[in-house]
Symmetry: C2
Subunit: 190 residues, 2 copies
């Protein structure tokens, strides 16, 4: 809306975009303070700024992808990251053939693939705050340990293995098979 | 465990694998009936069978991927699907250059990429029950409509757009940017 130059938005318009109801929009926002003008709506620019503040998106997050197989390569080329202040600033792998300098243009912005042994040094240098694990499951905990050692506090884990991290670190799992299991369960109980 | 020939498993062992506590394992299972032998544990084979029944995994789910870009190609080659009774049996795209018969061996099992216009016919023929949308967001609702028309009841939506389906159909969204926003929020509030 901001890109299109729209100045105001109502909770009903927001609700319709999110496929929820307007009351929920108003209630959810009210948890974080007072927004908008009663009976009028929200200033698009202000609301966007406030939501970014709430979500911790008022800054750029610098990320590394660890494990440059199919999924890792796919993430490197996932253009929607760029829109939202997420920057992949490093890529690591352990498999020598992949440590070849730069990935092909086809995979989007060129990102140098480095040997995983350099993770601590590079994380510090490039101020990396999030690590995306796309290794085989057997390597996930090892990689998580390296990220902790490098003080990378946020981990997005695509490897189907439970990993544990010390207090002060956060892991979000994205397990495709768990998501599919969930869909299968819902379909079995329609 | 079954593959390794293990016969019994305790709730403590299960809990440790899932990084939760043993009481939670017992409580969660108790929602679905009586499992295991008090003070002994669970028969691995029986528990696996029962959990598959609960989750609707006692059958093979036949899936189609729609949109064979980077992410779609990556899913076609995602080997962990195979383990869990999920079979990708069709791939669709609208972009003529991709409709070239078979995808390369590098992308895993060869799957013929078909033109999206054939989705209804092929879904019926191949008994497809789940559709995975990996198109650009602007196409997601159109593709969802085609899947509904083809009576494909489960949709896994990777395209960052809200889609709506009629009653009796199920959509699960997997939005990478939403997951990253969530991680960013958690990191901002450690």
């Amino acid at each position: 809306m901001e890109e299109r130059g729209e100045k105001m938005v109502s909770s009903a318009q927001l609700a319709s975009r999110c496929a929820i109801n307007a009351g929920t929009v108003r209630k959810d926002l009210s948890y974080f303070g007072k927004f908008g003008v009663r009976g009028v709506g929200y200033y698009v620019k202000d609301l966007l700024y406030d939501i970014k503040q709430i979500l911790g998106l008022s800054k750029e997050w610098r990320m590394a992808v660890i494990g440059i197989g199919n999924l890792g390569s796919s993430l490197l080329s996932y253009k929607d990251f760029l829109k939202q202040d997420y920057q992949i600033v490093a890529a690591f792998d352990i498999d020598p053939p992949k440590v070849i300098g730069r990935v092909s243009e086809k995979l989007g912005r060129p990102v140098e693939v480095l040997h995983i042994d350099r993770i601590k040094e590079v994380a510090k240098e490039r101020k990396i705050e999030m690590g995306i694990i796309t290794t085989p499951p057997s390597e996930a905990q090892n990689v998580a340990n390296m990220l902790v050692e490098a003080e990378v506090r946020g981990i997005l884990n695509f490897a189907p293995a439970q990993i544990t991290v010390p207090k002060g670190y956060v892991v979000k799992d994205v397990f495709f098979t768990t998501i599919l299991d969930n869909l299968a369960y819902l379909l079995s109980n329609i």
